[in-house]
Structure formats: C-alpha cells, structure tokens
Amino acid sequence: MADRQYTSKQRAKRIDLGYFKRSHPSRRTRLILSVTATLAAGLWLLVYAVRGDHTIYTSGPVAPAHAMFEKDCRVCHVPSAAGPAPQTAGLAPSEGGFFLKVTDQACTTCHAGPIHHESQVSTPSCATCHIEHEGNRTLARSGDAGCTTCHEDVALTPGAERRFEPKVPSFAGHPEFAIDIRDGDAVRRIRLHRTAELKDTAQINLNHQKHMRAGLSGLEELQKLRGPSPHIVQTKGGLQLSCTYCHDTESTRTAMQPVSYQKHCGPACHPLDFDGRFPEAETPHLETSLVHAYLRTLYVQAFEDCQAVGGEAPSTENEPLRKRCQELDLIADAAAAPTTPAADAPPADAPRGGRLGRRGAEAPAAPVTEPPAQEPAEVSADAPRGRRLMRGGEAALAETPAAPRGAAAPRGPGIEWVAEQLRSTERLVYRQKCGFCHVMVTDAGRRPETAPTAIPVRWMSHAVFNHGVHRVVTCSECHQAETSTETTDVLLPNVKVCQDCHQERGGARTACVTCHLYHDKTRERPLDGPFTIRQLAGGARNATTPPATK
C-alpha cells in the first residue's frame, strides 16, 4: 500500500499562505497568559502598596522584639544623612534621600546600647552584630565573628590596663575561667588552674563532704519533722542529702539562690536552742545584738513569771510554770517563796544543752571571745532597782527591745539573776551555735558579731551560666563537692569540663554569647521609655509629635 505523497506544489496549494497574519489560538493563549501573569504580579505589589504594608519586601521576618514595626520599614530605615533629630529618629517619618539605612541612631532611640569596654579601640555599628530579618531569633544572639573580630587579638586604647586574655579565637581556644576573689577590700582575678592562689574567702564554715555523707545523722529526724523530700535520697549507706537540698536556682533558673538558714540548715539539723530549761526556745537567726535582746527579754519574762507564781498557791494550772521556776532555782519548792537566784545559778560557762546541746559541745574551736565587757558583768547589785531606773540607767539593757506587754521588769536580785543567765547563755550561743557555722568577729569590749558571709552570688562576673538548662547533668560532674572538706575550696569546674560538651563540631553551642554579654547592662537606660503607645503603634506614619526626651 502506497502512502500519500505530496509535491511541494500540492503542499503549497493545501496551505493558506496568509495564515501567519491571523492569530492562532496557541499564540493567543500564550499572550493572554503572559499579560495575565504580569498583571497579577503587578497587582500583587499594588495591593500591598495601597495597604502601606512593606512586609513582602523584607529579606525575612523581623525578630519578635520588632514585630510591631514589621509593616513599616521606615521606622528603622532612615536616611543616613540629614535625618531626624536623635530623639525622634526611628519613629519619626523619614523624608528625603533614596537610600534608607538602619543607623545606630535609629536603634538607640529605643535601646541604650551601652559601650562594651571603656578601652576598646573601635565600636561596631549596631547592625554589625544584631542582624535583623532572620525571623524568630534573639537579636542578642550574634555570631562569634562579631566578637572574635576584636578578641582574636584585642587592641586597647593607649595606656589602658590589659586585664583580660588578649587572644580568644574560639571557645576551643578559650582560656581557663577566671573568678574574682576578694582579698580584703581588693578583688583579685584568678584563673581556676592557679590552685595555689585559689581560695574561697567566704566567711562561713562548711564541710561539703560531711554534709554529703550517706547516713548523715539527723536526716531521719528531719524527714519526720518536714516530711519526705525529693532532696533527701535513700542510699545503701542510709539517707543522704542531695546537692539540691541546699542549692536551688532562682525563678529563671540562671543564678543560684543563697543558702538560707531557715530553709536549709535549721531548725531540724542546726537548731539554735540554748537552754534545756526552755526546750521550745530558740534564738533568732539574726545579728547578735538581736539575739542578746531576745535572750534578755526571755529571762526577764521568766523571772517575772516566777515571781508571780511564787506568790500563788500551787495548783494544776501553775504546776508547769512552778516546775520551770524550780529548775531555774527561782523558787525552792512548790510552797516556797521566791529565792534569791544569783547564788544558785549554774556556772556561767556550763553548757545548758538544749535539744542538740550535745552537738554544740562538739563544735570546733571557733575564734569566739568572751562575752562583751559591758554585758551583765556591768550590772551590779547596787544598780538602781526601780523600773524607771532600769529602763534608763543601764546601757546594755537599754538596747533591749520593749518587753512583751504585761511583763514586769526584774528588780534587785532579779537583775543579777538575768545578767548571770545572759552571760552564760550568750557565751554558749556565740561559741557553740553561731560560731559553729559563722566566722565570729570579736572586738575587745564589744559583743561578738558574725562576719558577713561574703558568699559570691556570681563567681564569674563576666559570664552568665544557666543552671536550669544544665539540669540533665548531675551536679558532681562539674562541682567536686563530695571530696571537699574546706570552706576555702573553690568548687567551680574548669573550662575543660565545659568543653567536653560544648564543641564546635557535634556538640553543645559554643557561641560567645552563650555565656557572655556584650553591652554593660549596668548602664541600661531606666525602664521609663520615651514613646507613647500611639507613637509606637502608629510607626513612622503616626509619629507626628516627637517623643518626650528622657
């Protein structure tokens, strides 16, 4: 079968030679689509332009902190030359000039941006480190390059003292951590590898090893008293305190809260009881002058009560009080009148016990001096005995806070008795109770005082550490507390410990800003900002009135 064949002439005859002059549907379709696509693109831009919304032109979403300015580029992008006044830059409408850049002026309208260091030789622009339009990120989390540009080889202004490591190219090359150690009034910066100089100068006596021992006595009592605690764990050796029993973070989980006597030390483990004859009484965990006031009030009250009960007939109601008074040697027996107590008082320095008096006897020989000279010894039997005279005539007693309502001041032998009780009890309290944990400061002729503990809130003043984000790691991985017996031990981890996890390749973050802040936050501006809500919400369009200058 022969297929159809055409000659050129036949072909030409079959074709309408003017076909190209007429529009063909395929070409028409292409034209319509081209026009439609172009118009659609233009219309899209037009809709946003009419709405005054610039968001489509951004190279990326702005950071959450600047979200309210996202639609108006001119809030931050201002003419670099001949721009608005410093206090109005940013929110004020920017006119003139084709090129609109983000100037430092626009940033500092809202942010203080304190200088990094007084002796730095150059200051980068804000936008060098704080890179916008990268979406949901914290602008302060700038890259290492912004830091290492200077810190690879730090240059200082002429004459400036070099206090820090001059070359820190990366976290892998980070020098050993340094901490500020107080040496009297001076503060020395010492790196953790210089162990000979590394002494914790906190004025407190603490043996971590002893506290972390399994089977530590008193923990059963503590649990009975306070109930089960997740911070007291059962081990083979018995109950054991975990680190978190005493050490807890504040609400942001960044810094550690100071150890509190009320919460962590007493009264279950280290009660401040002082006299077995007052089994429920404990001195307040306050400064020694207040302890003195408390004790004096207590003994005066006891004396007055005994005087009162001594004149009454024995009964079931006053039996407990009569017993105490007999123990205090303030009455001879149930029917006897009050005795003169001074001669029968127990020796001044005899331990009085209390619930944990035995432990008190084990207290180390703390540098506790004798009670102050002006204390009860100065109160003589010849001192004025009237209530009025007692109030104004004796210096030591004059420090005492007002006695409880209804309490009668002791008279005559009562003063001597109270003075004797105070002398012996205070000696015991300051030496065995306060001095057990605190360093006592003694000064001749003055009452001993506890030295300020001076436990640093932050050891590394140039870095921040978030304990919360590290809570998956057991404390002893970083803090060798289980073997520490001395208060002077510094239990901070070396940089190598951090570098075990924080590695540039396949590890936790190593960015400088993970631990360090650039701006000096102590120089931040006050919270009272310069703009009204209307100005902020309106962006560049509504900022017709300049903000009040702060």
Binding site: M1, R4, R14, I15, D16, A37, A41, L45, Y57, G146
Partner: protein, 314 residues
Amino acid sequence: MLLDGSHRRWIVVTVATAAIATAIYVMYALTDPRGPHGGSWTGLGFGMTSLALMIYPALLGLRRRVPTWRVGRASTWLRGHLWLGLLGYVMVFYHAGFQWSGTLTFVLMILYTIVVISGIWGVVVQQRVPRMMLEQVPLETVYEQIDAIVGQLRGEADDLVDKATGGLPIPATAGNGASGNGAGHGRPPADQGGDHRTEPALAVAEGAGDRRVAALRETYLTEIRPFLDQRLPGRSPLLNARDRLALFDHLRTVVPPGAHDVVEELRTICDERRQLAQQKRLHHVLHGWLLVHVPLSLALLLLAIVHAIVALRY
C-alpha cells in the same frame, strides 16, 4: 535548539564563570562575619549580575519580534538565552546566600526555579521531539494549518464516498471543502444540494446490490468520517494501528473490487489525519512549556526589578 558543538564555547564560558563565582562566594561566605546575604557588597554584586543575566534572556522575545534588528543572529541570542539564563540562576543563589525567607524573595525564587526548570524541559524536548516528528509525521504541515487541512481531508473523503456510493446523507458545508485555497477538495457547497443523491459511479452497484455499497457508506459514516473531524473521537478503531488495518482489510473484503481504490484512498486520508493528530500532539509537547516559561518569565522580570529597587533603597 539542538545542543551540538556550536554550544561548546557557551558551555565553557558559563562553567568558567560559575566556577569563578563559586570561588568568590566560598571566600565571601567564610570571611563575612554576618555570613552570606544579599545586602553585602558581594551579595549585591551577585544580585546585580543575576538581574542582568535575567534581563538578557528576556530580550530574546524582543529580538524575535523584530527580526530585522542587526543585533546578532537569532541562534546566538538563543544560545545566550539558554546558558546565561542558567548562569543567572546560579548567581541568584549566591546573591541570596541560599536563603529566601522574605515573601517577595521567596516568590522570586519559586518563579525563577519554575522558569529555569520549564526552560530546561524545553531544551530536552527539543533534542528529541523534532526527530520524532520527522520519523512519525512524514506528512508534517504548518501547525497552524492542521485544522484547515483536516477539513480538506474530510471534504476529500466525502467526495470519494459520495461518488462511490451515490450519495451521502450529510449536509454539505463550506468547511467540508477546501478552506479558501482553491484546492478543489471537499464536498460541493450547500447551493449544490444538501442530501443529494447521484448515481453510483461504481459498477459494483449493478451486480452486488445496495447492500455492499451501503456497507461502505455505513462504515464511512460511523467510523471514518468522525475520525476526520477536527476533534478526534475518544474511541475509534482508527486510533489503533492494528484495528485500523483490520477495519480497512474488512472493508476491502466487503466492497466490490472496483471500490478497492476508494478504500485505499480512504486509508491514506485516515493515515494523514492520524499523522496530523500526532503532529499536533508532538507540537504541544514541543511548545507547551512556553505557556509556563514565557508568562512566568515576564512576571519574574517585573518582580525582580521591583525587588532590586526596593532592596537598594532599604
């Protein structure tokens, strides 16, 4: 456009330029504290280059609209369109630092990607489809004239069967005949009679009776004529080579020997119709991508220019 040896120089230039751009980008990405981004000087350089390489390919359309312009040969422009367009796509990645989180930049990247992919598809089909056309469509004609020629073929077939069977029960229309080129094929116009009846031209009608003639007429009207319509039927034995062969073999056995020439002529007409349908199909493959490529290129160009202006301002 075939990718032949004439493209070698373009390929070398494109690859070399891309390599240099890559080296610059790597150095820039490693040293820029902020990392690669469109706002840096290097990023802006890449951006302006890519915009230029976007505009140049778009000028090909203008060049084609005004073929008399003495601005180089069209084939050279087409090669440039192909390779510089690809190079521009690479430059856009370096300009953006492989990030396009802004709305407009994201849309631009989507558009550019579709345009490039559709362009690459166009190049690929141009390597294959013309050869297929040559092999499968020996009777290829001007694409825009396919419908007209199909009309001619049907008119030609109508005439054949009309003469052979003594009349077809169909109205004669101008479309059945030659479409204005005076070729003389096709049914007579309407003024010559609609459902006209003539004496069968075949001697077969005398001895074999109307039944055999009616078989030819019936087969023509039910199977062949619909196949010669402008729109191919969804189901037809003529769409399939084996069924087509069987149909005409059967028809040849049914009609008297004197009508075999008519059957053979109908077969060749159907074969030409089939080729034209195939040409149409191949043409759509060969040029269909332009329906995506061209409109989106124009939208891309508009948005890219706006992006450049706004980005430079801010």
